[in-house]
C-alpha cells in the first residue's frame, strides 16, 4: 500500500494520514470556531477575541462530545496559523505526566521564549498572532487539588505572556481560586436542530443517505453527545454498505448500535413488576410459575444474561415509570427515590445485578 512506505530516516508526518482512513469524529473535527455547532454564546465571545487580540484565561466545561477540545484547538489555530501553532500552543492533558513539578517545568520552559509575531503564514493567510502563548490543560478535573493550587501561582507568574485554557467535564472539581481567575464557558449538550444539521452535513459529505427518522434516532440515542452520534452514524453506514445489495440505514440499526434496550424487553420487565403496560407492545405473555419474588429474580437474571447495561436499563425503566399515565404521584415518588439510590450505587461501582434487583423489588413494593 502506498501510504506504507518505509520511513526514510524520520517517521512520516502526522498530516500524511489518508482522510479516508480517519474515523469521522476526527475527520469532521471543527477546523474553525465557525464550524462548531451550537454553543452560540461561547462562539460569539470567542469570535470577538479573534479581532481584539486580547484573551482572558478560560475555563471550558460541559459533558463529553460537546466541542470543548475542538473549540480551543480551532481557536488557537485561527489565532496563530499552522506555522506558529507548535511554538505558541502547549497542550497538556491527563495522559501526560502531570505531577505539578512536571507541569511547572514544562510551562516555565515554554513560557520563557518571548513570542515574536510573524503574522503571515506559509499558506499566505494572515493570522492575528497576538503576543502571548496559549497553554491548554485538557481534562483539568483529573488534576489533584495540590496541583491546581500550585497552578494558581504559575498562572500569575506568567500572566504577561501566557493565557491558560482549562478544559473539563466537571466544573466542581476545579478549585474555586482557580476557577475564579478564568472566564467560564459552559458547553451544553447539543440541541436537536444543530446536532441534526451537523450530522446531515457529514452524511452528505460521505454520500450516506439518511432519512429524518434515522436522524431522530441518532439524536435521541446520543443525548446531545455529538461524538457518539457521529460514531453511531459511521458504524451504521459501514454496516449498511456491507450488505449486498447495500441497504438503507434504519432507526432500529441505530438503536441497536447505541445499546438501547428493546422496548419489548423493558415492557416485559415492567409487567413482571406489576406495572400496567400498553398492550400495543408485543409482550411475552407466558404465565410463569413461582412467587412474585422468584419471578422478579428470574426476570433480572435474564436481563443480566443479555448483558444490557444497567444504567441504560434503569434510565429506560425510569422513563416508563415517570411518564406512566395511571400510576399515582406517590407511587412514582417512591420509585424515583430508588432510581436515585441505584444511580449513585452504580457510580460507586456496585454490583449491577444486586441493584437492578433492588430497584425491581422496591418498585414492585411501591406499586402493589
Amino acid at each position: 500500500m502506498s501510504f506504507f512506505q518505509v520511513p526514510s530516516g524520520k517517521p512520516a508526518q502526522k498530516h500524511a494520514v489518508d482522510p479516508a482512513l480517519q474515523p469521522w469524529v476526527e475527520k469532521y473535527r471543527p477546523k474553525t470556531i465557525d464550524d462548531v455547532s451550537s454553543q452560540e454564546h461561547t462562539m460569539a465571545v470567542l469570535r470577538k477575541t479573534l479581532t481584539s487580540t486580547n484573551l482572558p484565561h478560560m475555563l471550558f466545561y460541559g459533558p463529553p462530545g460537546t466541542g470543548k477540545t475542538s473549540t480551543i484547538l480551532a481557536l488557537s489555530r485561527q489565532l496563530f496559523g499552522p506555522d506558529n501553532f507548535r511554538n505558541r500552543v502547549l497542550e497538556l492533558n491527563a495522559s501526560d505526566e502531570r505531577g505539578i513539578k512536571v507541569v511547572r517545568e514544562k510551562i516555565k520552559n515554554f513560557a520563557r521564549q518571548t513570542p515574536r509575531a510573524q503574522a503571515v503564514g506559509s499558506d499566505g493567510k494572515t493570522y492575528p498572532c497576538p503576543p502571548y502563548k496559549i497553554i491548554i490543560l485538557d481534562e483539568a478535573d483529573s488534576m489533584t487539588q495540590d496541583a491546581q493550587g500550585a497552578l494558581r501561582r504559575i498562572m500569575e507568574t506568567y500572566a504577561r505572556i501566557t493565557r491558560f485554557c482549562l478544559v473539563c467535564n466537571y466544573v466542581t472539581r476545579i478549585i474555586e481560586p482557580l476557577a475564579s481567575r478564568c472566564s467560564k464557558f459552559r458547553f451544553t449538550p447539543l440541541d436537536t436542530s444543530s446536532a441534526g444539521s451537523r450530522l446531515s452535513m457529514i452524511a452528505t459529505a460521505e454520500h450516506v443517505q439518511i432519512d429524518p427518522l434515522v436522524l431522530d434516532a441518532l439524536i435521541g440515542t446520543s443525548g446531545g453527545d455529538l461524538r457518539r452520534a457521529i460514531t453511531y452514524l459511521q458504524s451504521a453506514s459501514r454496516l449498511a454498505a456491507s450488505t449486498n445489495p447495500p441497504t438503507p440505514i434504519t432507526p432500529s440499526d441505530i438503536q441497536e448500535i447505541a445499546g438501547v434496550v428493546p422496548d419489548a424487553v423493558i415492557a416485559s420487565l415492567a409487567k413482571t413488576l406489576g406495572i400496567d403496560v400498553a398492550t400495543a407492545m408485543d409482550v411475552d405473555d407466558k404465565p410463569t410459575s413461582g412467587s412474585n419474588f422468584e419471578k422478579i429474580q428470574k426476570a433480572v437474571k435474564h436481563l443480566i444474561r443479555e448483558g444490557y447495561s444497567a444504567s441504560q436499563t434503569l434510565s429506560q425503566l425510569h422513563d416508563l415509570v415517570v411518564l406512566h399515565p395511571t400510576l399515582t404521584a406517590r407511587q412514582k415518588s417512591r420509585c424515583a427515590l430508588v432510581f436515585a439510590e441505584a444511580d449513585k450505587a452504580l457510580c460507586d461501582g456496585a454490583d449491577e445485578e444486586l441493584w437492578i434487583l433492588e430497584v425491581a423489588l422496591r418498585i414492585h413494593k411501591a406499586i402493589s
Partner: protein, 356 residues
C-alpha cells in the same frame, strides 16, 4: 493437549457460532480502514474475548496468532517496580491493567504513549494502526481512565483501543463517548446446545440431550464454563449415561453451608462461626461480592417469601459499602447480623428495631 475450550475456540468471525448479526457487523467495521475504538461488554463467558480475537484476525490476518508473552517492568513515580504481563503480536498487544493494582495509571500512560509514538513498520501490515486490547476495563481506576481520554483521540492514527468489560457502569462517560459499544449477550440454551454439540462432534462423540441440558442449566449462560464441564464429565464417565451429576465448585458448596448456618441459628456464637468461614473464603481469593451474592441467594431460597426482598435489599446495601470501604469482612458480617435480626423479628415477633 490443550483444553477443549481453547482447542475448539473459533479463530475467525465466520467460525463464531452465535450472534451472527454481531459478527457481520464486526466484519463490516474491520473491512473499512476507519475502525473505531471499541468497548465489548457482557456477562462472563459470553465469548467477548473470542470475538475480539476473531475481529483482530479479520483486521490483520493470521499474523495476530503469533503471540509472545513479555514481562515488562514499569517504574512508578515513587520508584516502585511494577511487573505486568503483556501478550503481543506484531499488530496488537493485550494487557490486564488490574494486575498493576493502584498503579494501573502508570502502566496505561507509559505503554500507550510508547505504542502511539511508534509507527507500524511491517510493510505487509493491513492496517497502519496497532490495536491495544485492555482486559477487565471495568476495574480500571478513575485516574487510569482519565489518562486514556485524550490519548484515545490524539493518537488515533497509530492506535486503536479495544476495551473488554463485564459492565459499563464503572466506566466514566468520556470513555464511553469515545468508543463504539458492543454488547455480547450470553448465548441462549439453544445456542449453547449447538456449541456443545459441535465440540462433542469435533472430539468424536455424540452428546445425548440429557447431559447437555444439565450442563446448560448449570452454566447459566457461561459458555466457557459449559465446555469445561463437558470435558470434565466426559473424563468421569466416558459414555455420558446414567445419573450424572455436575459437581459444584468447592467455594460454592462452602457458601451454601454458610447460608445454612445463618438460617439454622441466630446467635452471637453463630455470627462468630460464620465469620471464620468468611475469612476462609476470602483467603482463597473468592471475591467478596461473589461471596455475598451466593450466600444471599441461597438464604432467600430457604426463608419465608415476606423476608426475601428485605434480605436482598440489605445485600445490595452492604455490597456498595463494601466497595467503598476497606475491610470487606466488616460489611459481610454486618449483613449477616442484619439478616439474623430480620429473621428473629419475623419468627418470634421480637421487636429489634432498637438494634438498627
Amino acid at each position: 493437549m490443550s483444553l477443549w475450550v481453547d482447542h475448539y475456540r473459533p479463530r475467525s468471525l465466520d467460525e463464531l457460532h452465535y450472534h451472527k448479526h454481531l459478527s457481520s457487523r464486526l466484519r463490516s467495521l474491520a473491512a473499512s480502514g476507519d475502525f473505531p475504538h471499541m468497548l465489548f461488554y457482557g456477562p462472563p463467558g459470553a465469548g467477548k474475548k473470542t470475538r475480539i480475537s476473531c475481529t483482530l484476525k479479520e483486521l490483520f490476518g493470521p499474523g495476530v496468532d503469533k503471540l509472545k508473552v513479555d514481562q515488562r517492568v514499569f517504574l512508578t513515580q515513587s520508584k516502585r517496580k511494577i511487573e505486568v504481563n503483556i501478550v503481543q503480536s506484531n499488530f496488537h498487544l493485550e494487557i490486564t491493567p488490574s494486575e498493576a493494582g493502584n498503579y494501573d495509571r502508570t502502566v496505561i500512560q507509559e505503554l500507550l504513549k510508547e505504542i502511539a509514538q511508534t509507527q507500524q513498520v511491517d510493510l505487509s501490515a493491513k492496517q497502519r494502526f496497532k490495536v491495544v486490547v485492555i482486559n477487565e476495563a471495568d476495574s480500571l481506576s478513575r485516574d487510569a481512565q482519565a489518562a486514556l481520554r485524550r490519548t484515545m483521540e490524539k493518537y488515533m492514527t497509530n492506535m486503536r483501543i479495544i476495551l473488554c468489560a463485564n459492565s459499563t457502569s464503572r466506566l466514566i462517560a468520556p470513555i464511553k463517548s469515545r468508543c463504539l459499544l458492543i454488547r455480547v449477550a450470553a448465548p441462549d440454551p439453544d445456542e449453547m446446545r449447538g456449541v456443545l454439540g459441535y465440540v462433542a462432534k469435533s472430539v468424536g462423540f455424540d452428546l445425548p440431550p440429557d447431559p447437555a441440558d444439565k450442563i446448560i442449566e448449570d452454566s447459566n449462560g457461561n459458555m466457557r464454563k459449559a465446555i469445561l464441564v463437558l470435558e470434565a464429565l466426559k473424563m468421569q464417565s466416558p459414555d455420558l449415561t446414567g445419573n450424572i451429576t455436575i459437581a459444584k465448585p468447592d467455594w460454592e458448596t462452602y457458601c451454601h453451608k454458610v447460608a445454612d448456618l445463618i438460617v439454622q441459628e441466630q446467635t452471637p456464637a453463630r455470627v462468630m462461626e460464620v465469620r471464620t468461614k468468611f475469612y476462609e473464603l476470602l483467603s482463597h481469593c473468592i471475591p467478596p461480592t461473589v461471596i455475598l451474592k451466593t450466600v444471599a441467594e441461597r438464604v432467600v431460597e430457604r426463608v419465608d417469601e415476606s423476608l426475601k426482598a428485605d434480605i436482598m435489599h440489605w445485600a445490595a446495601f452492604y455490597e456498595v459499602r463494601m466497595r467503598l470501604g476497606n475491610k470487606k469482612i466488616f460489611h459481610l458480617e454486618a449483613w449477616v447480623v442484619k439478616v439474623m435480626s430480620l429473621y428473629k423479628q419475623f419468627f418470634y415477633g421480637i421487636d429489634l428495631t432498637d438494634f438498627d
